[in-house]
Assembly symmetry: C2
Homo-oligomer: 430 residues x 2
Amino acid sequence: MKKQFKTPEAGDKIKVILDGRTEQGTLLDSHDRGVLLLKLENGYNIGLKKEDISNIKIIEKKKEKKESEELKLSGKKPIIDFYLTGGTISSKLDPETGGVKWLIEDKELFAMYPGIFEVADIRVKTPFSKASENMFGKDWIKLAKLVGKSLNNPQVKGVIISHGTDFLHYTSSALSFMLGKLNKPVVLTYSQRSSDRGSSDAQLNLICSAHMALGDIAEVMLVGHASTNDNYCYALRGTKVRKMHTSRRDTFRPINCKPIAKIWQDGKIEMIDNNVNKRGKKKIDVDAVFDDRVALLKFYPGQNPNVLDFYRKKRYRGLVIEMSGLGHVLSEGKNNWVPVLKKLIEKGMFVYAVPQTIYGRLDPFVYSPGRKLNKIGVVYLKDILPETGLVKLGWVLGHPNWRGSVATARKMLENISGEFNPHLGNEFLV
Amino acid sequence: MKKQFKTPEAGDKIKVILDGRTEQGTLLDSHDRGVLLLKLENGYNIGLKKEDISNIKIIEKKKEKKESEELKLSGKKPIIDFYLTGGTISSKLDPETGGVKWLIEDKELFAMYPGIFEVADIRVKTPFSKASENMFGKDWIKLAKLVGKSLNNPQVKGVIISHGTDFLHYTSSALSFMLGKLNKPVVLTYSQRSSDRGSSDAQLNLICSAHMALGDIAEVMLVGHASTNDNYCYALRGTKVRKMHTSRRDTFRPINCKPIAKIWQDGKIEMIDNNVNKRGKKKIDVDAVFDDRVALLKFYPGQNPNVLDFYRKKRYRGLVIEMSGLGHVLSEGKNNWVPVLKKLIEKGMFVYAVPQTIYGRLDPFVYSPGRKLNKIGVVYLKDILPETGLVKLGWVLGHPNWRGSVATARKMLENISGEFNPHLGNEFLV
């Protein structure tokens, strides 16, 4: 026989009586009709089988407020401008597909994770809602301009951007170049599990992001789980970070450098890399430009170089090639890339080499293929990440006053936002 | 005044008298005219400044033998067939460029690293000499056929292949599929430093490879440094290994699985993964086919899907796409990949998704872009490496009797050589 209770609504604070125990918390939408999903006061969610429940008491009905009221500022705490841009952190389980549904409202997200309001007054902005694989130049430009306004607003202490994980490292690179030398922290964060799941990493990531946004380090940083444990986060440099696992909560890894800092939920920050820019009072100049006629190409053995002609015919201006080892491509036989690249460069294409191994630094001078490529004008981008290389090239080519292969190469080789690690030894392969 | 000694030749065993000490060893070619390079009996090389040398005594002149004599078999030790295919392990410093010169002769390599002869009779074969980025289908087929003959020769105990590092993981994948279920060990090895350098990793890698080739594990394995220390090697599964650093000696990492074993110089082997195939007596059937009309494509945000038309026009049969996150590409707006991929698949192209994050497993069912791609016929290759995915597709399409999208997908999803880890949890991100 099906049991009937007085039906609580999602958002209500309730007490559930089960055989031998009670659980108290806020009711969440559940994708399973046989299960009642409860957000406990410690922040975790639990699922309770309806058949095990003997009674439910509604302690407090969900408050129905207008949006302006709901996220009202206390006027007593420092202000963080919070940009919600979509992704898993803005999503919840979808009972129709059993998958994840995009785009919960900001109210829902913050109702689930109210902890961030305890340390700051949060002003929520929603410039667009997109999965990160759908973002590119114009989205990065829009976001950079908005963030720039927040940074130049004396009332604002710092900025947080929540974002899809897939290509978060592209956006963090783009903002690093476009925002330049910062006056305040810019923190990007995410979750790998949708926000309504008990195992969601949103809570820790959000609160640690707030601590970094209120702190002294004025860099574009990605803040998220440092391990699979729910104990602390890393702050990682925006230009030297990559998604390295399809599903782990600590998917973002520092590449060819150390993390900037460790952050705990209680606000403790332990610096790891002290070579950082500090908070200042100067207004910033946003340099939000991007030429999307750039492409990233991963080289594989046997690859026919005729793919290069495709990019020439489509009038791309710059190519970033993930080369093998210290920076090699096919350099003999019928599929020799060297003469094809030479012609391409002579016709005005900018060609940059980046490491396919991800870790380590390129060196064109050890082997003859590298020396040949260097000679025909391929520029080697040292220990840069391929993803950062592509974003940087689009940004550099967006500047009409940096035209020409010499000016372009000079800018590409300049360490603008920590994209190169001049102190890189052999120690960073995690 | 320039000192003059009785001039020894490279290969001579000599004693060098310096101020207050003597050094004894085999003279090597030196790229620096002011330095005498000596291979000591402990295997290390040292450079001695000629100006510090007071005398040189030739203890034993280099033996001038014919090749057949030089690598003569003792007849008392187990036989390893050793295929030299090029790469850094077959190279030495080049005084002209300051870089590395390809292709030392086998005699030179084994004169520098004689240790391997103490455990086995080595039969050296040189099918070709290439940097690994210059190898592809026909080289893998040639190598597989030769190795197959060695494996089916009752006199041979095991096989070693020395190889360039850049794309060694492609060759190890190709041999894994082409050789099938093995009767004897097939070991691929390498060095990251040219063999004439004191810091070369060749010595440890070669001796550990010999121990594995004589052992009981009948798998295609890559054997090389497990860390930057010179203490032991890992044996890694041929289909689940990737070069992850431009220059570290432990550049090869197991991806989404554990190493098979640890090997020490003295022959001690410690198993880590016991789920391996053991040595047997049955002859093997080599299945050396490859259709090179396959391509690997790394997706990046904003990428125009018109690059897909290039592959269709060039009559490729199969595409392996490195997708973001759990398996996504651009799925909205003017650069929406979904309809373009749908048309491509309808026209007969086989499209496979692999993880761009490298670590972790794809899952098309969590987010709507994945569900859409799955519906139009993109096949998700779980936790496979992108590189292994490309090699496997070329191999599968090389079989005329596996034609058609259903038969192709079935083979691509079958765990043929450990390319999928069905037990993969979250634990393997190193």
